[in-house]
Symmetry: C2
Subunit: 221 residues, 2 copies
């Protein structure tokens, strides 16, 4: 059987979750107290209803106890976020993801049983900051405290050299897992592949090795 999702709160965060889940073909019940916001989602979600999620009777009548995963995307009204999460967990919803405004909010959400707590603004701020300190780093994925995958722009020092000639694995302990050249992505680059200035390289390695690689091969161009 298909998993049943519900999103409570259709602001930018909850709305985006609702849209993306629906785009992926998921069954989504969209809920908000605000009629206008609900109307925006009638043609996007499987069902869209006007309801106050702090009202236990309403959540019961909507059958929320049978949902696999409910996302509480209420922000400013911290009390409503907490009360909704509490009711959902008491109804027996298996997984509840809740948006937190601050550390205190997160602590309370976890205490009352939220399974996942998200800080969208804070987390996106950290991502952006990582991307902008180095103009050569376009994006990244943290694999662990000490390992990452980075999307970097090849500069002057790499221009016209082959992967085997650069030998970043031996020199820095970093692997080039893909190369993006003029819109095309090569996910199995060969050793004799030539890197050109402006190409985008996807590299993987320990953060310390990647830092050395960035300092010596990418920065101060």
């Amino acid at each position: 059987m298909k998993k049943q999702f519900a999103v409570i709160g259709l602001g930018r965060f909850g709305g985006s979750i609702c849209r993306t889940l629906s785009d992926q073909g998921a069954e989504v019940l969209a809920i908000d107290v605000d009629e206008d916001r609900v109307n925006e989602f009638t043609s996007i979600a499987t069902h869209a209803v006007i309801a106050d999620s702090t009202d236990e009777t309403v959540l019961k009548s909507l059958g929320l106890r049978n949902f696999d995963h409910v996302i509480v995307a209420i922000g400013d009204n911290i009390q409503a976020s907490i009360l909704s999460t509490l009711i959902l967990k008491e109804l027996g919803v298996k997984k509840v993801t809740a948006k937190a405004q601050n550390d205190y909010h997160e602590k309370v959400l976890r205490k009352i049983g939220a399974d996942q707590v998200i800080h969208p603004e804070r987390d996106m701020g950290a991502r952006i900051a990582h991307n902008i300190t180095s103009s050569s780093v376009l994006d990244y994925l943290e694999l662990s405290d000490k390992h990452s995958i980075l999307e970097v722009v090849a500069g002057r020092k790499m221009d016209g050299r082959s992967i085997i000639d650069l030998d970043v694995r031996a020199n820095y302990g970093v692997n080039i897992v893909a190369i993006k050249q003029s819109g095309h992505i090569n996910v199995s680059p060969r050793a004799d592949e030539i890197v050109n200035k402006g190409d985008i390289l996807i590299i993987i390695g320990a953060d310390s090795d990647i830092d050395r690689f960035k300092k010596q091969m990418l920065e101060n161009e």
Copy 2:
């Protein structure tokens, strides 16, 4: 010379950018109209000042024209966000990143010269939704419209098999670029490496190939 950053608006988004930039050793000027918010950042940023960024004279006297990159992290007050961005570009700031509340806001920001426009809540919503539709996908990095890197959990069907035996490259066009096993990350997995249920695999490929791989090797466990 070290790059000079300024962050205007010290809410959760701007505050997180300010903290992360400072953690990375960058020079950061933190600006907000709200005294309490500025006080929070006096010990974090290089400088923290109370100022209204819609006041051109103030921005001039703070020497903002000489900054390399200014982030406008004002949200709710769309008019202040737009006016601040306009003044910064007129002063000659090379790079201005601005937070947008909606598509209309983004359009105006771009028209007046913003170099980068961010929708933190929307983008984080999309990331979260991608992570929750498939319980086997922990995280992802979009490389293009059609290619991604995914962090997935190996399931029953992969348990005890070697990378060469699974041959996901030939069978699905997908590459395994790293394996996380009991906290350790191997960024150059060998062909005879054994995959165990619960191991985390970092895979790269075309989205359509990755979808096939997920459906056949990971889902419905």
